[in-house]
Symmetry: C2
Subunit: 217 residues, 2 copies
């Protein structure tokens, strides 16, 4: 049975899609239109009670939260495709460290910028310029720490590509392509080289080609 | 060599301490006084560039982010103490699902309540009553979903205690003991039974006894 992923047009589900391609796992996608409120449909809420995307179904096994789903498939297909978890307990620990940094420190200001710059006009809401400025400052400080880290290792968790890097792809692509803030990446030498490396992976290029962003500026 | 944990007085490091006790791993703690700004000392920033607690050192291996550290020790000592990750890839997937729910949906409003109710007066800042109300509403909606979930399984990831439950202990203890909001737990039958169960574990009682909360209301 082929794995299902709900909500492929959006950024968080794209974490799962690029992971599945790296792991050479066949999947099909199920559209969920957030602007039409399909994530609040009773049938959808049975799968994902918080009403967010993505959800995955692997046979009759259901899972949500993009980073949890990635860990599950990376573990289930450990010996297939790209190794995304590291080879030892210590490497896995560093993957988890930087995956948590992405979730706790990188993504919150990035998500706010996405909502403010790419979504507010679609939702008919005013842009909060102070919040944009504050979020850009926060993200810049995080990127300064990444610059230091990436001057010492090729990828975030060490000299191997992992879920920690992969998890940055969808929202950072928005920053570069749709928010006019590519300079935040390009002005930092090691971050820029890292971004060129991870964003040019065939897996990610395939996701971009198959599933266009629903909101563009 | 004994494992070190930095910042034992605070809530996030207590996730690590209770995990280590469950795993029967010996540890020592290194105090970090956030009110004195010790988390911004250059020596500390070499260990944790974001300037937050906890950090752990296992010999010359350094790791940060509480949930990453818990996963590392739970995996490293998999066959020792309480199993906290589930026994199969599917169980581990559900542990990750609910650990992400804790990190992404439960903890943000809980953290805001902690800062607003327990910390603002210590920091000489005004309480933002609207933000408190909004955070309590958000947390209430999350707890409604927990109530439904816990009516079907004894613990969040299934009928086994795991990191997903354990990660809720430190901040929920603040809610119950120091914020006057015990009713948020007690008014929900299954959440209340779950809380009584997990908070009475000897591991957690030991952490509370050894490391008092630095801020109380």
């Amino acid at each position: 049975m082929v794995v299902k992923v709900y909500g492929p047009a959006y950024a968080s589900p794209k974490r799962v899609l690029v992971c599945l391609i790296e792991k050479e796992v066949e999947f099909e996608t199920v559209p969920v239109d957030l602007l039409k409120g399909e994530h609040k449909d009773p049938e959808y809420l049975k799968l994902q009670p918080f009403g967010t995307v993505p959800v995955t179904q692997d046979g009759d096994y259901t899972l949500y939260e993009s980073r949890a789903i990635m860990r599950y498939y990376a573990e289930k297909y450990k010996s297939q495709g790209t190794d995304l978890l590291g080879k030892t307990v210590e490497e896995r620990g560093l993957v988890e460290n930087w995956l948590e940094v992405e979730a706790q420190s990188y993504n919150p200001p990035m998500f706010t910028l996405t909502v403010q710059i790419m979504l507010s006009s679609k939702l008919g809401l005013p842009r909060d310029e102070n919040l944009i400025k504050e979020s850009e400052e926060k993200l810049g400080k995080v990127l300064d720490i990444y610059e230091e880290r990436l001057s010492k290792s090729k990828y975030l968790a060490g000299n191997f590509f992992s879920l920690a890097d992969l998890s940055h792809l969808p929202f950072t692509q928005y920053l570069v392509d749709h928010m006019g803030k590519e300079y935040m990446i390009k002005s930092r030498k090691h971050v820029s080289a890292w971004w060129d490396d991870i964003s040019s992976r065939p897996s990610w290029q395939k996701v971009l080609q198959l599933y266009a962003a629903p909101f563009k500026n």
